[in-house]
């Protein structure tokens, strides 16, 4: 592995990301943890929307109205506040069509 110090060498690009270079300066570890953790959380949020949101359809021609297939007590949000999802039913005067 090259040990020259030019700007785009592998050593410099991966500084702080390899165990060897991190061992000399452990104090940047919280910053790395939060940075990559935040990136992961953002991507996980997007993936969750793509998979669980009632208005998202992955195959448009086959599934044009994905929200119609959702049960009456489907919980999308993680924190439900004061809503009691298991006992939800459609309002009594809503006709079934």
């Amino acid at each position: 592995m090259s040990t020259t110090a030019h700007a785009f060498s592998t050593e410099r690009r991966l500084w702080g990301l390899t165990q060897k270079s991190l061992a000399k300066h452990y104090s940047i570890a919280p910053m790395l943890f939060l940075g990559f953790g935040g990136l992961f959380c953002g991507l996980a949020y997007l993936a969750r929307i793509a998979v669980k949101h009632p208005e998202i359809s992955w195959m448009h021609d086959a599934n044009m109205f994905p929200w119609m297939k959702v049960p009456c007590n489907y919980q999308y949000k993680i924190n439900s506040g004061s809503l009691n999802y298991p006992v939800m039913v459609w309002p009594a005067d809503r006709p079934r069509i």
């Binding site: 009632p54 208005e55 929200w67 119609m68 959702v70 049960p71 009456c72 007590n73 489907y74 919980q75 999308y76 949000k77 809503l83 999802y85 939800m88 309002p91 005067d93 809503r94 006709p95 069509i97």
Partner: protein
Amino acid sequence: MSETYVTKTAAFDVRFPNANQTKNCWQNYVDYHRCHKIKGESYEPCEYFKRVYRSMCPNEWIGKWDEQIESGTFAGKI
């Protein structure tokens, strides 16, 4: 004697959990007309959908869609 009014709005719809209720409005408008098409013109419970979309939808949209239905250019499948 004074009448007592029962005031209420559209119930929470799990199909549209977020702040954007556009599809809720659209779906209830379409469901109202589908209800009349399926159950007949004088089926009273269809008014449920009408109440919901009257609460949910901006009046400009309701007017525009009513005109489109009359002229046959409405985009939804009824």
